[in-house]
Symmetry: C2
């Protein structure tokens, strides 16, 4: 028996006509696949509209109540899609995160999935039904409603695919697949036929919007083959699979960028054990994801610590970093929103030295100054001025000839 | 310790400014009342907007999915109100019907409350919190989301007040109280200071929109004092209390009307036992509320059965009545949407004969033909042509001098 989880994002269910279109695609799938589970996001701009409402009611709404509010978006789209499927003559049933039993921790607005109970879904599938699940939402063991953060519906889909031992998880979105760079910035960006979980994970972490990093991590851990394809056109899309399924590895697969980070510097921190632990421990408690971290060479037993965070977390970071700077007797804090992070991703980097040098040279040749550097075995990230962001992406894409297929 | 349940309807939470206004009223209440539980409806036109979305997706959406869809409206407003209360410095927590444990039967879109679990609400009240509960929604023992039908938030409020042994249940709405007739039809309609549960129940059943009949029934059964007042102005409103608390009983308390019913006639039905049981049994199974029922005198072993239903149920009734007419070999069916039901309510009718005669005479004097009559000990209802509806209400209000206080 074949079983596939299909996820349709917000742009795919943007309005009533698009919901009907999704229903038709699901109905077509149901003819060739025995069991179909569909995960949906909120309709188009619903989440933004709800955020706006909350913003007009409260300057800092409690995160628990934000989850109560935001989780309604997916509940609306799942019900409408189930109706549209029934209208096409299919037997369909919608389920909330609570009904599926998508158990999460208590980290409101950024909850992590702890367990997915598949029993009820399997029961419904056995009745021949298409099961439509609200993405993005879960429930704590106390029955509190949580949400998984932006893009959380991808994670819902992959987690369900893993729990159901699905053949694969299909992510339908408004782009045709995963590209060597954002096609809006780079005209000759090329769609990748396949890419490894590890590379996709680095791409997601460094700013590729097509998939949320947690969903890729989940897919890798449970070895759920993922495919990203367009909800509007036919086409094979991009398969994200384990590395051993990819024969010819590209040295560099893609250039990614993230223009939504800010750089925070705590200056003149006493250079003694426990200082960094205190700072980043407090940020973790405040549920702030810290990305790159750099600590300068110590001078006179004092040092500067710089790190990047999402701009949306900057208010929380100001409070925490400011308090800690006071406690530590630091010289001060600095917050810089005008940065861009540009990254080079490629599984082949492991065995091909010199890629980093090529990257730094390319940026230098284009008069782009590097402010921070961070590396992993298959990734190099540089922070540059925001104004240089687009140029950096284009220059790197050209230098590494990403428009040409290497396989 | 004082404990009050306050319910705010859709017009009271019509937009962000009104939600903030409700939060201020709740905050003021919290100063004089130890424990406040707030029940909210969906924001303004949310329910209509969701109904419209569903209508564009499906001609006859499954009721289970309608409940999934509609229950989101109250979840949005409860979260926003909790945020607004926190913004005012109160400690507040919102809860869904499921979290409160408002257990209902499985009658989707018209579910009935079976049990209200108050434990979690009491826990939160003990922490000094204002508890904001989503009205209109419940959950079955299987975890399926249900809704209680239009006006169901009143029932939620009263059921919670009963379960919590509240001092009273305050219904805040867009009118100043319960009137002797709809003030939009009758210029000198008078606000009642108090009215008995029984009279209010008859008023609700016969078309007064201010309270849903089930909420009044619930209040009567559990003896929960109810008060209806404006969410926009101060003022005492109308108290709905048990009859023995009202000393001077008016003979006629109010005239009500319902312009949203339709008359159905099944003609030439075999006059034998079980026919009516079959018809109304099938309608009950289809979850259709039948109001008045009239069976004509039998001629040649055949009879006509007429009854009224809500216009919104007419499609369902057409299917059921048509099928049964075929099975019974009836002569045909007739559906008439152009009717008005006008009713006279008064606890004093029990001891004052002649009220019915006065009503019929008043209608006749105004050239209004009566098509159906139905009575209870404290109510007389007449079905007339829709075009005569407004005139009938005005004539009866004038004839029985309802603009004059009798106490």
């Amino acid at each position: 028996m074949s079983l596939v989880v299909q996820k349709f994002g917000g742009t795919s269910v943007g309005d009533v006509e698009k919901i009907k279109n999704v229903a038709r695609r699901v109905a077509a799938s149901k003819k060739r696949i025995d069991h179909v589970v569909v995960v949906v996001s909120a309709l188009g701009d619903t989440t933004d509209r709800l955020l706006d409402l909350a913003g007009r009611v409260s300057a800092s709404p409690p995160e628990r109540e934000m989850d109560m509010l935001l989780s309604t978006g997916e509940q609306v789209s799942m019900a409408l899609l189930a109706m549209a499927l029934e209208e096409l003559g299919l037997d369909a049933v919608s389920m909330t995160g609570q009904q599926v039993e998508i158990l999460t921790d208590t980290g409101h607005t950024k909850a992590k999935i702890r367990h997915v109970g598949a029993d009820r879904v399997i029961q419904e599938l056995r009745k021949g039904r298409v099961v439509v699940v609200a993405g993005f939402q879960g429930v704590t063991s106390e029955g509190e409603i949580t949400t998984l953060g932006r893009g959380g519906s991808d994670t819902t889909a992959v987690a369900l695919a893993a729990a159901l031992h699905a053949d694969c998880c299909e992510i339908y979105t408004d782009v045709d697949g995963v590209f060597t760079a954002d096609p809006r910035l780079v005209a000759d960006a090329r769609k990748l036929a396949r890419i490894s979980f590890h590379e996709m994970l680095e791409m997601a972490v460094t700013g590729a919007r097509v998939l949320q990093s947690r969903s890729v991590e989940y897919a890798r851990n449970y070895n759920v083959p993922l495919v990203v394809r367009s909800s509007f056109h036919e086409g094979e899309g991009t398969w994200i699979v384990s590395e051993d399924e990819i024969m010819e590895k590209a040295i560099v697969s893609a250039v990614t960028h993230d223009f939504d980070e800010a750089k925070v510097t705590v200056m003149g921190v006493p250079d003694r054990p426990g200082v960094a632990a205190g700072l980043f421990g407090s940020l973790a408690e405040a549920n702030v994801n810290v990305d790159m971290i750099i600590q300068n060479v110590s001078e006179k037993a004092r040092t500067d610590i710089s790190f990047t965070v999402s701009k949306s977390d900057l208010d929380k970071v100001r409070t925490v970093a400011g308090r800690l700077a006071d406690e530590l007797g630091a010289a001060g804090t600095d917050f810089d929103s005008e940065i861009a992070k540009v990254s080079l991703i490629g599984a082949g980097m492991r065995t091909h030295p010199g890629i980093a040098a090529g990257m730094f040279r390319t940026l230098a040749d284009n008069d782009i100054n590097i402010e921070m550097i961070s590396t992993s075995p298959i990734k190099i990230s540089c922070v540059v001025r925001r104004a240089d962001g687009e140029n950096a992406v284009r220059a790197l894409h050209e230098h590494f000839h990403l428009e040409v297929e290497t396989e």
